[in-house]
Amino acid sequence: MNAALSQLRPAGASLRALALLVALLAVFFIALGRFSPMLALDNIRQAAPLGVVVLGQALVLMMGRLDLSVGATASLANIVLASVFAGDMANLVPALAATFGAGLLVGLANGLMATKLRIPAFLATLASSLIIAGLIIFFTGGSPRGSVPAGFRTITEAWFLGLLPYSALIWLVLLLGVLVLVHFTMLGRKMLLAGANPVAARHSGIPADALVVLSFVLCSLLATVGGILLSAITGMASIGVGNAYTLDSIAAAVIGGAVFAGGVFLPLGAVAGTLILSFVQSLLYLLSLPAAAKFIVQGAIIVLALALANLRQEKSS
């Protein structure tokens, strides 16, 4: 029991990200001029789509790879969901099936390119994001149709008991899901091992390549969930609506202490990183800075987070 509990203790990097989040929240409310927990919860509701995407990115990072196609995958989910739904709740099952099917294909393609074709993952996923973007414009002719019915939009617009947005609940459930997968199942332990040292894993009889494919499939499916949640917020199909998630998810994972060498999984850090990005964005909006400032702040955050992590590492070694 004690051993199981010790696995639940969050890593230092996650705690630092959480501390940063608390500090940022203080700044946010001071800039706002009042304390409003409802506003914070609403921010969480809007951050949920990205938060789910980041969980997937964290899984791929754990395997020592990088997925630069999550944004395109989320955009694809939006287009497929809205067009199959066509605004009618009766199409719920085919819409979800088609959307997840598309996500599954993207993940499989990414995983197979990164393992069987031995293409570096970031280039394989960069290429697949280009192909997905081309396919979206080709099939929609640049003006996508369809919409998400109001009934389905309750998953992001309604609140559970008026206290917690449903989208935040979905985020929480998926967070617990990956947490249990990585820390409490044999499959997840093997993934973590294979990410930390693929050669040793292979020598121990762990199918490292298959687990990499699995991580890409899970990542694409989570990016699809992110795209679905985003579609529920916007309610309509639009080209490239999720594209920003690629950079956002990497930034959030990095703030949460992700390591690019693999073998580290910090789900709590990933959540804190997502919320930090989301509140920074709200803060920029509050200070009425131009939208372009978001990119600059994001790039600066990535560099700063990695630089701080590197300096800390050098000090300790």
Partner: protein, 316 residues
């Protein structure tokens, strides 16, 4: 050619598949379309080769040293934005201004890689975001103006044998000689082949980082300047596809992603091949969206068939 020996000959040979591909495409398109050999089309080809060639050269130089630069597209866009906003007031001085901005972007990337020890892949992704933000602050939407005088001075009458062709040939020849026979050029390959051994043998790694990323930024900005002269305006997203195109050209031209392999002449031939393929699509009047999909597939194929070494060698 006895002076063309050892690793230089080996690296030149890596570009042979690209040469074969370029010749094949040229032959097929030449026979299939009467428009291909018209001076207007040839001039158009050269005009397209120049920006991609400059970006791909910068990317290749970074790859020789075993790094990668994912910010070249954004820096190129920044170049067009600076030209579009500053050339009306500053005239010709806008060009050195844009080049200096590109150089600064590259040096900032190198500073992050050298002093903050951030992985080049992630560092250039971050630079790319920052540069994109700066570009959008400068020019929120496509527009601005670049005077037609610039176009006349640089592209002339769009004839194939003009200033653009001489410029790109001169730049690549210079790079060929410097990378092949100068101390700096060889140290770059040394770092790309084996950074530890290079360091142990006294190669200044930090200086190599500053030079390769600086050159990459400078060349990307130069491509932006030329692009803005071609479209007579600035365009914030215009450079985005060039990052992948540049890497594709380098890989097709025989450059290894893990560094130390390849030659700039191979890259030039690969650029010509890629431009010829896109020209063939245009002459066959294929939908531009299908072209985008085809480009992605060609890129994957290029990586599968021309990539040397294992995946994972260039983590992540």
């Amino acid at each position: 050619m006895p002076w063309l020996k050892g690793s230089i000959r080996f690296n030149l040979a890596l570009g042979l598949p690209a040469l074969v591909l370029a010749l094949l495409v040229a032959l097929v398109v030449g026979f299939a379309s009467e428009d291909f050999l018209r001076p207007g089309n040839l001039g158009n080809l050269v005009n397209r080769i120049v920006p991609l060639g400059l970006v791909a050269l910068g990317e290749a130089i970074v790859l020789f040293a075993g790094r990668i630069d994912l910010s070249v597209g954004s820096v190129m866009s920044l170049g067009t934005a600076i030209m579009a906003t500053a050339s009306a007031g500053l005239g010709w001085l806008a060009i050195p201004l844009a080049l200096a901005a590109g150089l600064s972007c590259g040096l900032a990337t190198a500073a992050g890689v050298v002093f903050l020890r951030v992985n080049p892949l992630i560092m250039t992704l971050a630079t790319s975001a920052i540069v994109k933000g700066l570009t959008l602050l400068l020019l929120p939407s496509p527009g601005g103006e670049v005077d037609y005088l610039f176009y006349e001075a640089f592209f002339g009458m769009d004839e194939p044998l003009g200033l653009p062709l001489y410029l790109i040939l001169a730049v690549f020849l210079l790079a060929f000689v410097v990378l092949g026979w100068s101390r700096f050029g060889r140290s770059l390959y040394a770092v790309g082949s084996d950074e530890r051994s290079a360091y142990a043998n006294g190669v200044p790694i930090a200086r190599v980082d500053f030079v390769v990323f600086g050159l990459s930024g400078l060349l990307a900005a130069a491509a932006g300047v030329i692009m803005s002269i071609r479209i007579l305006s600035g365009d914030p997203p215009v450079g985005d596809p060039y990052t992948l195109d540049a890497i594709a050209a380098a890989v097709l031209g025989g450059v290894a992603l893990q560094g130390g392999r390849g030659n700039v002449l191979g890259v030039l031939v690969a650029v010509v091949a890629l431009v010829l393929i896109s020209n063939a699509f245009n002459l066959m009047e294929i939908n531009t969206n299908v072209q985008a999909i085809a480009k992605g597939l060609i890129f994957v194929l290029a990586l599968v068939f021309f990539m040397r070494g294992k995946a994972g060698a260039v983590a992540p």
